[in-house]
């Protein structure tokens, strides 16, 4: 369970998610993404981050939310976790929130097969789902596709 701290919050579909600010490397506008053969569907491809080749994961696809076109606010949140740098495509970045430890509860028990949340923060009116980045990242490496996209799609439809 996450003990709170500063989180970057952003939206994917209707939902707000949060990533520990310390894991964020930078936030970029959408750039050119080159698809990679044999990649799992939620991996859009790779992009050039100042000379380093970095994978780009579409969180809409990852979470099974219906896709939309890249818009003006579409951004790529670049995180650095476990020695790897990865970009996440999100709808919009909201703000940096200070989530006191007390406000964060463990992830709900009915989380389904994919446990990529570390907790849920009730920040004001909306719920902020705090992402477990190491787990989320493990699910997409080229060699280990991890949890199937199917699960995600089903979850999306359930909503």
């Amino acid at each position: 369970m996450n003990t709170g701290g500063q989180f970057l919050t952003f939206t994917v579909g209707e939902q707000t998610y949060g990533i520990d600010i310390l894991d964020i490397q930078e936030i970029r506008g959408g750039g050119t993404v080159t698809p990679v053969p044999h990649a799992p569907p939620h991996v859009r491809g790779v992009m050039n981050l100042r000379g380093t080749i970095v994978p780009v994961v579409d969180l809409r696809r990852r979470f099974g939310v219906p896709e939309i076109d890249f818009g003006r606010f579409t951004v790529i949140v670049v995180v650095a976790v476990e020695g790897r740098t990865i970009g996440f495509v999100v709808d919009t970045v909201s703000e940096v929130r200070d989530l006191a430890g007390a406000a964060v509860t463990p992830p709900p028990w009915n989380g389904g097969g994919e446990r990529f949340l570390t907790g849920v923060a009730a920040g004001g009116e909306e719920l902020v789902m705090l992402l477990d980045l190491p787990r989320l990242i493990r699910g997409h490496a080229a060699g280990q596709v991890g949890e199937s996209d199917q699960t995600g799609k089903q979850r999306g439809q359930e909503r």
Binding site: T34, P37, A39, P41, G45, N48, F70, T85, G143
Partner: protein
Amino acid sequence: MEIDFSRFRDTFFAEAAELAAELDRGVLALERMGCAGDPGLLHSIFRAAHSIKGNAGMLGLDAIAGFTHSLETLLDRLRDRRVALEPAVTAALVEASAALGQLLEAEREAPGSPPAEGARELAQRLSELAGAGGEASAASGGLHRIRFAPAPDFMRNGLDPLLFLRDLEQAGRVVAVRADSSRLPALEALDPEVCYLAWEIEFEGSRAGIEEVFGLAAGAAQIAIAVTVGEPAGEKFAGEQLPGAEIPAPAPTPPATAAGAPRRRSGSIRVDTDKADKLINLAGELVIAQAMAMSILDGFSSGHVCSSGRMEELREAMAVLGRHTREIQERVMGIRMLSASTVFGRFPRLVRDLAAATGKTVDLEIDGADTEIDRGLIEKIADPLTHLVRNAVDHGIESAERRREAGKPAVGRVRLAAFHRGGSVHIEVSDDGRGIDVDRVKQRAVERGMIPPEADLSPEQARALLFEPGFSTAGTVTGLSGRGVGLDVVRRNVEALGGRIRVDSRPGQGCMFLIALPMTLAILDGLLVRLGGGVFVIPLTAVVESVQLRPGMLVRPAGCGLLLRLRGEAIPALSPGDILGAGATEGRDRPTANRPPANRLAANRLAVVVEADGQRAALLVDDLAGQQQVVVKSLEEHYGPVDGILGATILGATTPGNSSVALIIDVGGLLRMAPVEETPPGRCRGNAGVDARFDACVDAGEEAAAAPGVASGSGRV
């Protein structure tokens, strides 16, 4: 203070490898010179041994320190001419140098592993050789470990332990002294007239000498003398420590980072200081140039008129910046380069040992040892080269009698040469041996069913058979085969580096293997192709030709995959779907900038014929997009390995925001993963969107002659 020595280990081994190589070269040169010797050479060999010993001692690598110590002692005696440079001595030195290399390797692979038995015996022999000529240690030169424990009343009896230690220094060489202060009481209980200390001394000299020194102390002290030839405890290597001085506790041998974890070879680079200095200077220039450009820009924004003169100034400043940037790039690439001597250095010994083992006399000639080669290549080319050199000595060069019969000089000649030619590095391995008997090669190939008996092969084609898998394992064809590992492996290794190999030979006169490698692994010449909406790079070394597709050239007969008919040959063809993997084509969408115009005519498609591992394939591409050098970037670092993809590169960085990533196709990997021969006809139809266009090619029944050579981008040797 605790010092973590483990981080020095890598440095030690890098340095030790260089020193050991120097030592080896020196020792071999010494052997060639015979008894004459050369003081300068001896000195440089001695220095190398001494440095290894010192460094190893510091890191507590006892086995290495001990071994080099005996080597050093012998070299020292040789320098002083106390021992004559006899054949037996040089032979021992040559052997010792090889053993040292093995010790270093063993210690690096498995820290703390006990030294091989052979090394110990060898050390003993070295010590004996060293002792044989030294007058002072005539009786039994060698290392003694002496424990000198004066009785408590030693000093009361008018004796001074220090005097004994000084006398000992006169009698031979004191290697190390360690004071044992364990009997020392607390300060308030200390009696200044009582001798509490004892010493452990490593001493090199005769036993008689020791007994003479300590004769006076007999009865007043406990003296134990043990011969510890070749095995001084490295932890006690304190070099020039004063006798009696307390020597700090030795650092234990650092434990392996994690037991069981495979030890990765360190990826550090040692760079010449002047290379680094030039880079530092250039970086300074870069900063100045940038500041200049910035100040001009500031002038613009602070309201000055944007005159054409100032524009010109800015342009000039940017040009300077660009020049410096390019130079830095070139020099940084230069850091990756090593001289060919780093890999050639091992061959004098290999040839010497092989020649000795086979009873031949072989001279090794090395040319172009200064040729710079990418360090990544150097590491990987060593094994194929070793194989070729071994072949040359073992099978190429004939015995002395045979050579005389053939009217050749009795001494065989093997030549290694490296040179740059046209953007690639060439390495030649040639010998003046018996050469390749083309007829026997053909005969062998027929026996193995590799060619039909009636096949009419040119000598060149026949020689190319040598590189085919399954050929050289035949083993019985003298002059051709190695020891099970064949030339096919050599070829595969060379091709994996993006290189090519070929062989030339004249029967009776010798043969020559020529390896051509790309200048660097970090940059490759690529053919840019459009494929399924994106740009891909095909390494030019793998490209044979590119052909424009005409109706009827692509066929898909029942029972096999798509084929390209080219000049009467059927080449398996890979559609974009095969190359990109199912689903990848539909995924290339919005974020991709490189979209091809939608409706191209099927007749405009191209096939790029590629070759890897002796297999050919035609990659069906949308278009050629040019040819350029690309910098290879790692895809694995943050993403992971991808089958059929070698890496990535960044294209079109005209403006910072507009650079896109292009993937580099690993032709060998692609061919390995695509079951070219067994593709069921319907398999590729999953990617109907892309493949339909090619199907149009297939189905347009008209048979047209092949039109070879649109932009033939051949990178062949």
